[in-house]
Subunit: 428 residues, 2 copies
C-alpha cells in the first residue's frame, strides 16, 4: 500500500521547473501602475537630454565675447535687459554688452553662450536699469548645459528586462512613456485542499483548522509579481477536486494547490495529475521542509502541488513557483538573492536532506548574519512571521553551530540572475 | 540679492525631521489587503496550536497498551476498524486490540494515544477485515502532536510593529484575523512646481521638459507605504502655488513638492512657508545631491521641499520623507538598511559635502559591492533607473577609489531601526 517515491535533488527540481518557463505577452500599462513590472522593450530617448542648451544654475546669460577684457581690476559692466524663468523663452535680440537674468533650466537666449552664476556676479541698479560687473573672462559654453550632452535622441536609455522602480519611472516620464511596455502578470490560480480547513472567519470545530495557506500564497504570488486568483478551498473528494482543478486550468497560467500531494488515502492530487494527463516532473524532493512538493505540467502550465504544512508550503513556493512567475514577467533575476553569512545560533538537527531553515537576517558591519527561528516548538507557528531569509544547508550533516558560514537566501531583496548555490556543493 | 543659507549636517536634518514624526490612527483591513502594513496590536492566539491532539503523519492510531508485548519476533495484531481523514472525527468506542487508520492532521480518536506511521506498519486484509502488525512497543503520546504543544491559547504570537508579510498573513489566518489591526497609510500630497514642466503625454516645446519627478515620487511614496495623492503640476506663480498648497494641506498628512526651493527669482516655496507660518526646520543641507532640500512643518504636517533635480529629488525623498512615512505606519525599521561594502570603481570627484552616490549593489560570496552609476555624463539620466543603492561618503575627501570600503544604503531591503551611519564619522 505504501508508495515509495524517488526524491530528486533540489537544484534538479529547480531546473526541471524552469525548463518549462515561458514569457508572457506584452501589454501597456499606465506609468503610475508600472511599479514592479519588467520592461518588455528597450526604452529609447525621444529627444536629447538636455533637450536644448540651458542654464544649469541661477545666474546671468551673457555673450562671452563681452568678457574678453574682464578682470578683477577692470570689471566689465553688462546691462541685464530681461529676466527669464525656466519654461519661458527669451525671444528678443541682444546688443553687445547686454545679458539676461536666467534661472536653473532656462533655455539659453539665442545670442548668449555663457552663464555667470549669481554668486560670481555683482549685480546692482543704476538709473532704473540693472547691471552686473564681470571680473573674469568667460569662454563660449562656460556654465552652459549643451543640448544632448547627457543623452542623444534615439539612444537606448534602459534595457528591456529591467524592473520598473521609481528611478525607471522618472526616465520613462522624461521620454514621454505615458503607457509602458511590460509583460502581463501571470494569472496564478490557488486552491487549498483539505476537508479539515475552515475559513478564516469560521469558528473552530473539533478536528478542523483554519485555512492559512491560501492567504499566505496570495501574498507570495503578489510579491512575486503575479496576479493571484483564489478559487477557494476544496474538500478531499476526488471528483470535486478534479472538476475544480481542470476547470480552473482554463483560466490561469499556472496553478498552486496546497495539500493533497502526500501518500495519504485522501491525497488526491497524484490521481488528478494522472487523470488530467499532466506530466509529473517530480513528486518528491530531497529537501526539508517540503519533501512532498510536486510539480506537474499540463498544456504548458505548471501545477505547483505544495505541501499542506505551512512552512513547507512557503518554502516550496519561494524555491519553485517564484522564479517561474518572475521569468514569465521577463525578470532576468528570478531567483532569491543568495549571500554567504554567519549563523548566529546552533542548529543541532541532523540533516539527511538539504534543509531550508527559516531565519532572520541581520546586517552588521560588512557581514550578514542569520538567526534561525522556530528552533523550539513554541516558535513553529511564529517562525514564518519573523522569517526574512532562508538558510540553506546541505544534507548529510550532523547539524550546524553558531559561527558557521552558510548560504542565506534573502526573501526581501529584488532577486538573482542565478539560483541559490547548490547546497549540496557546500559539503566540506 | 543673493541669500546665503547655513547648511545643516545630514544626520541633524534626519533627526530634525524625525522629531516631528507621529503615528497614525489604527484601522482594520482585510487579510488579503494587509501586505506591507505594520501591525497596530499584538496578535494573540485565539486557540492553542495544535488545537487538539492530532496525528502528525499518515498512519494508524492505536491504544499504546496493546503494544506492550510487541517485538519483531512476536508482533501484535491490531484490527483497523475505520479510516478517518483530516477534518473528520472518529466518534466510535474502540475495543482493546482495535485501532483506526488516520491521516496527517486527523484528530486523535478518544481511546487512542499513539500513532504508528505507514512505513512501520505491515497492513493486510483477512476475512474482509483490515489488520496491522506492530513489531515494537509504543508509549502513550508516541507520534502524537499534543494540543497546545506549539502555542498556548492567549499567547502573543506576533508583536505589534511587525511588518505584514506572507508569513505573518499565515499566522493571522490561523488565529482568525479576517480583519487585521494596522495603522492607516499616511496620505502624502504631491506637487511638481515649475513653469517649464510638460505632462508626460505632451509634445516637447522649446524651453520645456517633461515632468518626471511627480511620477517618481508617486512610486517612492507607494514603496515607502504611503498613499500618494498627486495634485498636479504648478506654474511658477506665487498666488497660484500658495492657494494650491494651503488648500491641499487640509487633505494630507504630509506634502511633497519638487522644485522651487532654491534661490532663483521664481523659487516661491520659501515665501510660501513664510506666509503659511510654517516652521522651516532647515533650507540647506551639507550634502550632494540635494543641498537645497528644505523641510518645514505646518500644523504638525511636514512639508518636504525637494529639489527639482531628479537625482536630488530622489535622494531627498529616501533620506528624509521615507522614514517619516514608515514611522507614521508604526515601522520600527523606518530607515534604509545600511551595510559596509566595497566600491568597484573610482569615484574621483572631490567631495566638499557628504555625498550620496547612486549605485548598483552586487552580492558576491560573503561581501557586498557597489558600482557607482552615472559617473560620466551620458549616464546621468539612466543612473536613477539602474540604482538600487546609495553609497554614502563623507565630505572633505579627494574622492574614492575602487576597493575602498564604503557605506551602502540598500533601497530594496525592508529597512533599518537606526539611520544610516553618519558618513562624517567615517572620516579617517
Amino acid at each position: 500500500m505504501f508508495e515509495e517515491r524517488a526524491p530528486v535533488k533540489v537544484m534538479d527540481a529547480v531546473q526541471m521547473v524552469m525548463a518549462h518557463s515561458r514569457e508572457g505577452e506584452e501589454e501597456r500599462v499606465h506609468l503610475s501602475e508600472a511599479d514592479g513590472r519588467y520592461l518588455a522593450e528597450d526604452i529609447k530617448a525621444d529627444h536629447p537630454i538636455p533637450p536644448f542648451d540651458r542654464s544649469p544654475l541661477d545666474g546671468f546669460a551673457i555673450q562671452s565675447q563681452d568678457s574678453k577684457n574682464a578682470s578683477s581690476e577692470s570689471p566689465v559692466k553688462i546691462e541685464i535687459v530681461d529676466t527669464v524663468g525656466a519654461g519661458h523663452t527669451f525671444t528678443g535680440k541682444l546688443k553687445p554688452g547686454h545679458g539676461v537674468r536666467v534661472m536653473t533650466g532656462t533655455i539659453m537666449p539665442d545670442d548668449c553662450d555663457a552663464v555667470v552664476m549669481f554668486e560670481l556676479a555683482n549685480d546692482y541698479q543704476e538709473n532704473g536699469n540693472s547691471y552686473i560687473d564681470i571680473k573674469r573672462q568667460f569662454s563660449p559654453g562656460d556654465f552652459v548645459s549643451k543640448q544632448g550632452e547627457e543623452t542623444s535622441e534615439g539612444e537606448t536609455v534602459i534595457k528591456k528586462g529591467t524592473i520598473v522602480t521609481a528611478g525607471v519611472i522618472a526616465v520613462l516620464a522624461t521620454f514621454g512613456y505615458e503607457y509602458v511596455p511590460v509583460i502581463r502578470k501571470p494569472r496564478i490560480g490557488i486552491f487549498a485542499t483539505g476537508t479539515e480547513l475552515l475559513d478564516v472567519n469560521e469558528p473552530l470545530e473539533p478536528g478542523k483548522i483554519r485555512n492559512s495557506n491560501a492567504y499566505m500564497i496570495i501574498s507570495q504570488v503578489r510579491k512575486a509579481g503575479g496576479e493571484p486568483m483564489y478559487f477557494g478551498k476544496l474538500m478531499d473528494d476526488f471528483d470535486l477536486c478534479y472538476d475544480a482543478i481542470s476547470s480552473a486550468l482554463e483560466d490561469v497560467d499556472a496553478l498552486v494547490t496546497t495539500g493533497g500531494v502526500s501518500v495519504g488515502d485522501f491525497d488526491f492530487l497524484p490521481a488528478i495529475y494522472d487523470k488530467l494527463g499532466a506530466d509529473v516532473l517530480f513528486n518528491k524532493i530531497a529537501m526539508r521542509p517540503g519533501s512532498v512538493t510536486t510539480v506537474a505540467v499540463f498544456d504548458g502550465k505548471p501545477l505547483f502541488g505544495l505541501s499542506g504544512n505551512p512552512s513547507a508550503c512557503f518554502v516550496g513556493f519561494e524555491l519553485y513557483a517564484r522564479p517561474w512567475v518572475r521569468r514569465f514577467m521577463k525578470s532576468e533575476k528570478p531567483y532569491l538573492q543568495t549571500i554567504r553569512g554567519t549563523l548566529t545560533a546552533d542548529f543541532p538537527k541532523p540533516n539527511p536532506f538539504t534543509r531550508f531553515i527559516r531565519s532572520r537576517v541581520k546586517y552588521e558591519g560588512n557581514r550578514l548574519y542569520a538567526e534561525p527561528i522556530g528552533m523550539d516548538k513554541s516558535q513553529v507557528v511564529t517562525s514564518l512571521a519573523y522569517s526574512d531569509c532562508l538558510v540553506a544547508v546541505p544534507g548529510g550533516s550532523r547539524g550546524y553551530t553558531s559561527g558557521d558560514e552558510v548560504d542565506i537566501l534573502l526573501l526581501e531583496a529584488e532577486g538573482s540572475a542565478i539560483p541559490f548555490k547548490d547546497p549540496e556543493k557546500r559539503k566540506g
